[in-house]
Symmetry: C2
Subunit: 131 residues, 2 copies
């Protein structure tokens, strides 16, 4: 049963992807990369960069020789909804997400997407921080 990872082009998103690849290799499972963009007014400006990023991810995963799918979704959903829905449909055993590090001084609250995924996912969730 596959592993689902939420990808965004930030250091947190890349950390989640790297770790998800390791988990997929360790468990010998297929990896499903979900890049969910809510869309909306300013979306067309970002769409080229978004496509470029997913192409880079695809090439990187091909080079690593694992079985994978990449889903780029733009359908007005919050990323949490897309991730949880795909994980359920695909019977995933694990969702991997990136979390921001709390700053030494700041009281960082958990992002609403991370919190929703952790609470709503039927499967286990691995929360990864960038190095």
């Amino acid at each position: 049963m596959p592993i689902v990872v939420g990808f965004i082009p930030t250091k947190e998103g890349r950390a989640a992807l790297d770790r998800a690849v390791e988990e997929a290799q360790l468990r010998n499972e297929r990896l499903i990369v979900v890049s969910s963009n809510k869309g909306g007014e300013n979306f067309s400006r970002d769409v080229v960069q978004f496509d470029d990023e997913l192409e880079k991810v695809t090439k990187d995963l091909e080079a690593r020789g694992i079985e994978f799918d990449v889903h780029g979704l733009v359908r007005g959903n919050e990323p949490a909804e897309d991730l949880v829905e795909i994980a359920e449909k695909q019977n995933a055993t694990l969702i991997v997400i990136g979390l921001r590090r709390r700053s030494p001084v700041g009281k960082l609250l958990m992002g609403s997407n991370a919190q929703r995924i952790l609470l709503d996912a039927n499967c286990d969730v691995l929360a990864v921080k960038p190095n």
Copy 2:
């Protein structure tokens, strides 16, 4: 580098322990079970049950044939503090915690211990739900 699991005698705590055992076997790592109780006024009433539970856990882990330690801590800390501190001292690669399922109607917020562990841990955190 070991895997740290927070244990409490609830279905969430047991789910976390079971999953942590699987992860320790998969990665061939030592498991550190941390059972942290803040203590305080009513603690003496619970202490016998608390010891019994940890003894059961110890026997169960011995039967499964994995390398492990059990730490029963009562030093006035929140469980989150104890877990994060031990994970850091032991250079853990992973902390496993149990999370409650969100009820279909209820808006369950994440417990403060879970949220603190997720935000404060230096290592990855695997959040597990009971079946």
